[in-house]
Symmetry: C2
Subunit: 347 residues, 2 copies
Amino acid sequence: MKSNTISLEHGAGGEVMQALIGEIILKNFHNKSAGSIGLECLDDGSTVRLEGFNKGCELVMTTDSHVITPAFFPNTNIGRLAVSGTVNDLTVMGAKPLALTCAVIVPEGFPLKEFEEIIKTMDKTAAEVGVPIITGDTKTMEKTALDSIILNTAGLGITDSPVRDSGLQPGDKILVTGTIGDHGISLMAHREGFDFDTDLASDSAPLWKLIEPLLKLRTPEGEPVITAMKDPTRGGLANALNEMAEKSGAGILIEEDWIPFKPAVSAACEMLGLDPLEVANEGKAVIGVKPGFEDEVLSILRQHPYGRDAAVIGEVTPDKKEVVLRNRFGGMRFVDVPAGDPIPRVC
Amino acid sequence: MKSNTISLEHGAGGEVMQALIGEIILKNFHNKSAGSIGLECLDDGSTVRLEGFNKGCELVMTTDSHVITPAFFPNTNIGRLAVSGTVNDLTVMGAKPLALTCAVIVPEGFPLKEFEEIIKTMDKTAAEVGVPIITGDTKTMEKTALDSIILNTAGLGITDSPVRDSGLQPGDKILVTGTIGDHGISLMAHREGFDFDTDLASDSAPLWKLIEPLLKLRTPEGEPVITAMKDPTRGGLANALNEMAEKSGAGILIEEDWIPFKPAVSAACEMLGLDPLEVANEGKAVIGVKPGFEDEVLSILRQHPYGRDAAVIGEVTPDKKEVVLRNRFGGMRFVDVPAGDPIPRVC
Ligand SMILES: Nc1ncnc2c1ncn2[C@@H]1O[C@H](COP(=O)(O)OP(=O)(O)OP(=O)(O)O)[C@@H](O)[C@H]1O
Ligand SMILES: Nc1ncnc2c1ncn2[C@@H]1O[C@H](COP(=O)(O)OP(=O)(O)OP(=O)(O)O)[C@@H](O)[C@H]1O
Ligand SMILES: [Mg+2]
Ligand SMILES: [Mg+2]
Ligand SMILES: [Mg+2]
Ligand SMILES: [Mg+2]
Ligand SMILES: [Mg+2]
Ligand SMILES: [Mg+2]
């Protein structure tokens, strides 16, 4: 930890945040596990095992705060982001969402109409996956103390076979459920005032219904077809792939040309000088799939509106914990862990 | 809703907040229940019923954000407050805490030493009741956008007989587990710079171990001895008693002289012109007890350090949903629902 104070990168989902969590949070929390996956796994959520409950079944808990500004952005608002974010962390743990919480912190002077619009959007987003919002909290702050509305959603889910970040095996195929970079780039374009292209919109979406059918797939040997899963939020695809490779003790080789991008996103990236691999996605999952099953998985994903652009983007390699990108000419480069997402307050 | 924008009172735990929750949140959330106690009960938490789990057992979820300023105050800091607050909402639902989440939002420039101190305090407070902190989230904001650290903790608990706010029956005794007004008044005194009296300190404490033995008590007919329970946080004892009376469809008569106050708190209240019944407590519970069992309950409470000053303060009356305070001369006055806690950002 170089500095003595918090910097924006301490909350930006990359290497700097990981150091903070490793050096301050993991070291000081002594009791941090209630099931097979505890805080120390640093997965998208953790599990809770219940005495006397169906063997093999575990609950999953997760939480995310959302501080995105502006609270309204192309197509939707912070309410959709908050519900989707927590639904997706449960989903990529392999857990069916059972209930959400809704904690709101709002500055004085915030328009009640916008407040209501955000609440309505949360309701609609939760309805897409049928999850109830059962409890919440409302705090206010002086307008000089807080600039925009903040939401926190925690989620409870249930699973009979949790999916970890660390389950990748050499040979597994790496899939993404759709185009990469949409959320972060569209937000940046919106802030800069050139989001006239309707393709530049947040991908924010709750993925449970998209992913649910995959969780039941088994190999002839009875093993889950899905070996690992993560939602590439802050720090983007670059961070998600690195975390999965590192935790799995394997490498990942990605074919640059296979990554799906919206043309508007690629164009905006050039204009803004941003790497679409390092920015947040809010309606996508990265999935490890046992080799030979990728076509079946792809065809299931593509049947759902949120999976239309799903693609195989590479595979797991045996010898290294590194992520390598190969371009169409065969040139290779490492995909580094970003220090942090280059776009501040994107979620 | 008179104004078109959020005011500080919309988050102050009284009548104004209740209107916001009733008119905007309850009306717009369509799916808000996952068990026997849903959001519409507006209790300290809600329940989740699990298929195939022990009959009668339910999970409980709750969440609270903490925006208190300053983050460090006499005796402790926001970390103790956040863990205690969520443990206490589970506790007053009659639920054993199983797991907590830890979401932090921190402004750039916040000292890392203080950040670590807060995390250590969370760890220690959770250890008092043996609850693990299993998952979390860290976001940062510009120092111009947020003035102080914010914590959100969500909690998961389990119970085989949930305790509702609405369970009061005429004749039940009303108990408090200790002195009233400590948290709010000590915070205000600290802000005003006269917290030299060491008795002026926050009561922030996790109450599970104090309350746990009460939950097993049964009448000879097999009914729970504890009929209702609430932690008198924002809006203080005045708000908690009114909510319990209203939801139970009964009245409450309180004997002013029986309410335990620290002399330093009474003195500070006079100086600051504050009503100790309207300010937040962070380590207290209000308990409805079947008549005839109050002495047993008191003696159990007083064995625990957090229950030393426990007292019977009144009883439930049949005919009204109102809360009445009787002074030593027999004079009566209504205890109104406060518009909101008079001290801003106290939790
Ligand atoms: N303040 C905290 N306390 C405890 N654990 C934390 C805290 N912040 C992060 N973590 C843990 O660190 C890991 C990474 O957190 P992170 O928020 O990046 O995950 P995520 O929610 O999947 O990503 P995102 O927040 O970008 O959606 C998770 O396991 C999380 O539980
Ligand atoms: N933003 C929200 N969304 C959904 N429900 C909410 C929201 N804010 C409050 N509630 C609900 O309103 C009720 C009252 O909330 P409140 O926060 O006052 O309870 P509490 O946590 O017991 O008190 P405190 O926050 O002072 O500790 C609870 O049932 C809570 O679930
Ligand atoms: Mg995640
Ligand atoms: Mg997340
Ligand atoms: Mg609350
Ligand atoms: Mg409460
Ligand atoms: Mg509370
Ligand atoms: Mg997170």
